[in-house]
């Protein structure tokens, strides 16, 4: 059997299905429902077996059309930075508020992707987010909690 990344993904999916199936069997159902033809764990159990079946087939059957990915051509660094910025965004949005966090998120993303036109970067972050916030808050009436804007008295 030729081992390639697709097979490894199938193996990971197989292991995931084993875990899913195990967890499905652990679901606590009501005592009166235990022997019912269908209860809260019936469908997940079927899904677990289906996962094992399809990933197992993918594992054992030949894979003549192997997908080859040239890893050296992939831009891992910028992708990882963008993901990190997004995680930081998630970690700070509730504390700092939507306006500042989102503006810095956009500004930082432009910067790390290689942009250096500062005025354009600024216009497409801070004023852009302010306009978008106005659309959400003022027009569509979607409340956005923002401790920073509240502190400086812009938002009630």
């Amino acid at each position: 059997m030729n081992i390639n990344t697709t097979k490894i993904i199938s193996l990971l999916f197989f292991i995931f299905s084993v875990f899913y199936l195990y967890t499905a069997y652990q679901i606590q159902v009501f005592a009166f429902d235990e022997n019912a033809p269908f209860n809260a764990k019936t469908f997940p159990i079927y899904l677990g077996y289906a996962g094992l079946f399809f990933s197992g087939l993918k594992l054992i059957l030949p894979d003549p059309e192997t997908i080859k990915v040239e890893h050296k051509n992939l831009e891992y660094k910028k992708t990882a930075i963008l993901i990190t910025i997004a995680i930081i965004y998630g970690a700070t949005i509730l504390k700092i508020g939507y306006f500042l966090t989102t503006s810095f998120f956009l500004f930082g993303s432009y910067y790390f992707l290689g942009e250096r036109r500062w005025i354009l970067m600024f216009l497409l972050s801070f004023p852009f987010v302010a306009a978008f916030m106005y659309l959400l808050h003022g027009v569509l009436e979607i409340y956005l909690r923002d401790p920073f804007l509240k502190l400086i008295g812009v938002m009630g």
Partner: protein
């Protein structure tokens, strides 16, 4: 039906809804022109905004985005040989050679008129077929629905690209697994939440769509060093020439359009088939039906060769709304996204939609038509200008896509756990995309997961746990036999090619 059409027209023709169709078509065209970003991404990005409107307006906006994206995809196929969406690949066979002969404007006009005519015909078919099918589908019982969902999920996997059947089936199972997270609908027992309160209500549909399409597409573009805006920059520099279609070419189109619209619509109605298969079939059929002289022109800028796939792909788009509106079962990834959005509005599509919410049912059908008129009047002459807007650098486009995705999720839950979950799913989806694991089957399965479990539960409880319900009713048996036929046919076809 006349009453329904009038209800639909009165809803769709309000100033707000016409404006929404225009916005949708414009935004859809922009996204559709970017290779790699298709209608599903465009619709996904729109969902959080649509929740600010009533269901009819929200759906009208999404329908506009859908048609706009398909039209935008044709534009990049014709001008750059870079189809924005798979459904417009066949368009490039004759559209691109025509553009290279200096007739880009004419090619775009043929594509736009064919799309419009295909859409018009299919709107008429939809108008007559949907209400009748709604009445027929009232006789459907839980076992039939369960079998239909199995058929839909199997078909979308079977019709995915060559050698992807098992990968697509794995994605179907993954989608169903994700849908099983949260409280069980009947007993309220929590499943797969690992004592995390944020998962009690399950994973939001919008989150999964945003993560697997918008966000993961943005990450894939960065990872693969693609530049989708490069195509748009070239479009803005292309000399389009005249957009007039001469009499001789019009004559050819008169014959091609009706037959291609029929094939497109019928393929669109089938679960899982969609615009890509419809356009290829229509192209193949047209090549067989034209005379020998015209046959020689195929692949070199044939009017019939361009008109047939364009008519068929638009007709298929309308056709794919039939199972969603009448049975509540989407036939494609895009309509699955729209179904999810409808469920978010608290509207349950299916045979009763026609009776309980006729304004939604008919206004969608009417707005499709209005959308096509707008595409023809506004977007065709505006293509070079839209392309100029699109020629923004990738460095701005990607952060903006990420911004709309994350904001979309945040404004729905005001919870940073959802942001982390979305990032996690997007990273996994990006990795899976690298190895050609298709995402539409995952979305379709995620949307259908709850309904599927519900119908299986009812069927099993009614039959006292016996699986006889699968062959008790003729209809259920017929649907399951069709599913078996699709699987066997697929295995046979791939066995011949030695690929599975």
């Amino acid at each position: 039906m006349i009453e329904g059409i009038l209800i639909g027209l009165s809803t769709a023709l309000t100033l707000q809804n016409i404006f929404m169709v225009m916005i949708g078509c414009f935004f859809g065209t922009i996204i559709g022109m970017l290779p790699g970003l298709g209608p599903m991404t465009a619709i996904a990005l729109m969902i959080p905004i649509t929740y600010g409107f009533d269901p009819a307006t929200g759906l009208i906006l999404m329908a506009g985005v859908y048609y706009g994206a398909v039209f935008g995809g044709s534009t990049s196929s014709i001008l750059l040989n870079a189809p924005g969406v798979p459904g417009t690949v066949a368009t490039s066979f004759d559209g691109y050679p025509m553009a290279q002969q200096g007739k880009a404007g004419k090619a775009l006009a043929i594509a736009a008129w064919s799309s419009f005519a295909g859409g018009t015909f299919s709107a008429i078919y939809l108008l007559f077929l949907a209400p009748s099918l709604s009445k027929v589908s009232l006789s459907f019982r839980s076992p039939d629905y369960f079998a239909l969902m199995i058929l839909g999920l199997t078909a979308i996997a079977a019709f995915s690209s060559k050698g992807q059947f098992l990968k697509a089936m794995m994605m179907v199972v993954l989608g169903l697994m994700l849908a099983s997270v949260g409280q069980d609908s009947l007993s309220d027992i929590t499943r797969f939440t690992f004592d995390n309160m944020n998962l009690t209500d399950g994973i939001s549909f919008v989150l999964v769509v945003m993560a697997t399409f918008a966000m993961s597409e943005a990450l894939t573009i960065i990872l693969k060093r693609n530049d989708p805006t490069a195509a748009a920059k070239q479009v803005s520099l292309t000399e389009l020439g005249s957009i007039k279609i001469d009499k001789e070419d019009r004559k050819k189109m008169y014959k091609t359009i009706p037959r291609s619209s029929v094939i497109g619509f019928l393929i669109g109605v089938l679960p899982g088939a969609g615009a890509t298969i419809a356009s290829f079939l229509a192209y193949g059929m047209e090549r067989n039906l034209v005379n020998d002289d015209e046959k020689q022109k195929f692949g070199k800028g044939s009017v019939n060769g361009l008109s047939a796939p364009e008519t068929a792909n638009n007709a298929a788009c309308s056709g794919s709304f039939v199972p969603m509106l009448t049975l509540g079962i989407p036939g494609s990834g895009t309509t699955a996204v729209m179904l999810g959005a409808l469920l978010g509005f608290g509207v349950q599509p299916g045979p009763r939609l026609y009776m309980t919410n006729p304004e939604i049912f008919w206004s969608i059908i009417m707005s499709m038509y209005i959308g096509m008129v707008i595409l023809l009047i506004l977007n065709l002459p505006l293509i070079p200008y839209i392309a100029r807007i699109l020629a923004v650098p990738k460095n701005y486009l990607i952060p903006l896509i990420l911004f709309f995705s994350i904001t979309g999720i945040y404004v729905m839950s005001f919870n940073n756990f959802d942001i982390y979950l979305m990032i996690g799913i997007a990273v996994v989806a990006t990795f899976l995309r690298l190895y050609d694991f298709p995402m539409p089957p995952l979305i379709l399965a995620f949307v259908l997961g709850g309904l599927m479990e519900e119908n299986l539960r009812r069927s099993l409880l009614l039959s006292n746990g016996s699986w006889e319900f699968l062959w008790d009713r003729t209809l259920t048996l017929c649907i399951l036999l069709t599913t078996a036929f699709i699987v066997i046919w697929h295995i046979y076809k791939n066995f011949k090619r030695k690929i599975i």
